[in-house]
């Protein structure tokens, strides 16, 4: 039910998880590593199995560290492969994670057969069940465990970005400059990747695999269409994460559908709307801008045409509105619109169905002839 305590706990868990991911997503996007989260997600099993074989318990926090460590190993392997220049970065990702994923499955079936080491049970969270796993200290109920874990993770990410904002900015934009100014871009890179690994692992546990990739990529991508500043890029990404989480969870509760699928769909929808309507980089703006430029080009062409034939023997034939469309190879309707527009601007006059430039129209034509056909 909407606005029940259950709804509030589930939506808050989803939102906090989304925020933790959406803070890092923009950096991955700018470093062209958006799909890295998917790769890390796939190799978690390997780390969990190895950690389980060492500590022998399924509910140990070491499993979390094992999983995150595998994430980092994946990052290092991918970088080493793509730096060797034998394969490209995307192929390096594709080579690394199936290998570790398969390794994890083999290890699990070989050594952990009798312990029911089920990745579903250990790692794949469902947002719906968030209220059932609570964090309690003694008698006191602190709230859903995922909500608190992801809250802390998000806070850690936010703090790290706040402290290292300038350093992350320069090393993401121009690692060479960052290195030459003494900012250790490699250290920053692996620091960032450590945060990504831990965030992926905890988020997997909180809301499941589909949403993790969605949280890293979709809010960042939507935000990218809205802003030209890194700070706002991050802020909008978080806003999209929050909006998508609450709207999506509400829709899931109202329609009684799965939370993860519905939230991901709503976020996709928000991205679609943004793509369409973004003030500067949206499709609608793109179309209207193209239309405006085409109109301006046609207006100028008419004026230049009239100017070029002014005072020549062909002037009468070339300025006759009745066959102007044949000269330009425009449709009659289009020619009519263009001529009317030019007349309404008082660039041309129509005298006994012949067009004549006004002084203003002649001035524009002169300027375009000397300056070249640049339109802004």
């Amino acid at each position: 039910m909407l606005f029940s305590p259950e709804f509030l706990e589930v939506s808050a868990t989803v939102a906090v998880t989304a925020i933790a991911c959406a803070l890092l997503g923009p950096f991955l996007l700018l470093r062209r590593l958006a799909l890295l989260t998917d790769a890390i997600g796939h190799v978690l099993l390997f780390g969990i199995v190895v950690a389980f074989l060492i500590v022998g318990q399924l509910d140990s926090p070491w499993l979390l560290f094992g999983a995150a460590a595998t994430g980092l190993v994946t990052v290092v392997l991918i970088e080493a492969l793509s730096r060797s220049q034998v394969v490209r970065e995307d192929a390096a990702i594709g080579l690394t994670f199936p290998a570790l994923f398969a390794g994890g499955i083999i290890l699990a079936t070989l050594f952990a057969r009798n312990t029911h080491l089920d990745i579903d049970q250990v790692m794949l969270g469902y947002a719906e069940f968030a209220p059932e796993h609570r964090l309690e200290i003694g008698e006191y109920d602190l709230g859903p465990r995922s909500l608190i874990v992801m809250g802390l993770m998000g806070l850690l990410n936010l703090t790290a970005i706040a402290i290292f904002f300038k350093e992350l900015k320069i090393s993401t934009f121009d690692a060479t400059l960052a290195a030459s100014l003494g900012f250790l871009p490699a250290v920053l890179h692996y620091g960032l990747m450590t945060l990504v690994s831990f965030t992926v692992v905890t988020a997997f546990d909180s809301t499941g695999p589909v949403l993790v990739v969605a949280f890293f990529v979709i809010p960042a991508m939507s935000s990218y269409l809205l802003t030209d500043r890194l700070g706002w890029f991050l802020a909008w990404s978080v806003l999209y994460a929050v909006a998508g989480s609450f709207l999506g969870t509400a829709a899931a509760f109202a329609l009684e559908t799965t939370v993860s699928g519905t939230v991901a769909t709503v976020m996709g929808g928000l991205f679609g709307l943004t793509w369409l309507a973004a003030p500067r980089y949206g499709l609608i703006r793109h179309w209207t801008e193209r239309r405006r430029l085409r109109r301006a080009m046609h207006d100028r062409l008419l004026l230049i045409h009239l100017k070029n034939h002014e005072g020549t023997p062909e002037e009468s034939a070339e300025s006759d509105v009745r066959n102007l469309h044949e000269h330009f190879r425009w449709t009659l309707a289009a020619t009519d619109r263009i001529v009317r527009r030019a007349m309404s601007h008082a660039w041309v006059l129509c005298e006994s169905s012949h067009l004549k430039l006004t002084p203003v129209g002649r001035e524009i034509a002169d300027r375009d002839i000397t300056a070249g056909p640049f339109i802004s």
Binding site: L30, I163, F165, K166, E167, K169, I170, T172, F173, D174, T176, L177, A178, A179, S180, L181, G182, F183, Y224, T227, D228, R229, L230, W232, F233
Partner: protein, 247 residues
Amino acid sequence: MMNAKPAVNVADLTVAYRDRPVLWDIDLQVPAGALMAVVGPNGAGKSTLLKAILGLVKPVAGMVELFGQPYRAVAKKIAYVPQRTSVDWDFPATVRDVVLMGTYGQLGWFRRPGQPQRKLADEALARMGMQDYANRQISQLSGGQQQRVFLARSLVQGAELFFMDEPFQGVDATTEEVILKLLHELRNAGKTVVVVHHDLGTVRDYFDWVTLINVKKIASGQLSEVFTPENISQTYGHRALIANPSA
């Protein structure tokens, strides 16, 4: 040489990619205050020479000193202007943001740029004729404007020694003039400037010193002494017949 310690001192520098030498046993001095062009055909190792001097590629052998010290010790006095295609211009940043990055070195870790740095950035932009573009998104710049932003960024570093990789490559006439004026201002202010340059026809007009390389160093020194038809044709082979400026 005007100074006891040259601004750049390279000895026996060899750089190889796998088994192919890109620079072969280079000895090179750049005196302090020189405005020097580094010329040579494509693949001659010009950019690699800059990168090796700056420690961005690891040499197989050889030694590099800047003002008599290793690069790390004098890094703050050095500004490197890479080829403008080396970064992603779709990055969400304004022109001023990018120029401000030049001040990060002086600020060090954690300190944020403030009013003094912004003023410095705006002055540098004005010097490059880019003051009206300070708040412009960087993806909306032309190639020449991008180059001027990179140069403005190097100006705010407060450097004594500049390395520029093909700043004249593919820029418009206005930008070419602005860059040329800047090079001469830097020289007149006593800075040392080393520029990778591809246009043999303008070397004589733009620079005082020249280094000719083609994997090996052919010649290096004052333009009037070493920029000779013999050295040019030795650097470029038969192509120099077309490019050879009247001496």
